[in-house]
């Protein structure tokens, strides 16, 4: 196995954990909302606050680090459109997801743990899940750009 193949394996695996996990979290978000039980939304908020920081964030860092190694090892040009679009998309999603959504999700989960679930907090979690949905669309668009590599 070459070092390029190793970076590619780690890059794809980390992207799977991050994007696949986020899509599954969306499904759980829809199910929690449909249940009409604020307690379920509370549990989801707590879970996503934890998973966001300890699973998604490390995965996002591995994705960008191994992506950089792939560019270097594979003799790709840093000016390739798919590299620039990938890095831009990554930066936008990471800033919004870990700078806002995950933090707020953790706060909502902590409030629910302290005050108990309420329709207001359930609605807050619902809004954050909706923002996360937009970020997933951006992530899937990045996957598309990585696969198709327009301009190469």
């Amino acid at each position: 196995m070459t070092s390029y193949e190793l970076w590619l394996f780690l890059h794809i695996t980390a992207a799977m954990v991050w994007i696949g996990g986020a899509i599954t979290a969306q499904v759980f978000g829809v199910l929690a909302k449909r249940s009409g039980d604020p307690g379920q939304s509370a549990a989801l908020g707590r879970n996503l606050g934890f998973v966001g920081m300890y699973v998604f964030l490390p995965s996002a860092i591995i994705v960008v680090l191994t992506g950089g190694l792939l560019v270097e090892d594979g003799n790709w040009d840093w000016g390739e459109p798919f590299v620039i679009l990938g890095l831009l998309g990554w930066a936008v999603v990471v800033a919004a997801a870990f700078g806002y959504v995950v933090r707020e999700m953790g706060k909502a989960g902590a409030r629910m743990a302290a005050e108990g679930p309420s329709p207001e907090l359930a609605a807050r979690v619902g809004t954050l899940v909706l923002i996360a949905r937009v970020l997933i669309v951006v992530l899937v668009a990045i996957v598309f750009v990585m696969v198709v590599k327009p301009g190469t």
Binding site: M16, V17, G20, G21, R46, N47, V147
Partner: protein, 49 residues
Amino acid sequence: MSWSELLLFVHVSVAVIWVGGGLMMQFFAIRASMSGDPARTATLGEDIG
């Protein structure tokens, strides 16, 4: 975009959902189990099933 690229995109996307989703369910299950609340584990089981 060629058919091959389209199929590759679909292939990668569904693999991402399958593998990443499975792993996420494991994390949720561990947290539900650690909470000591049988109702939470039951709800999760219901959602996964």
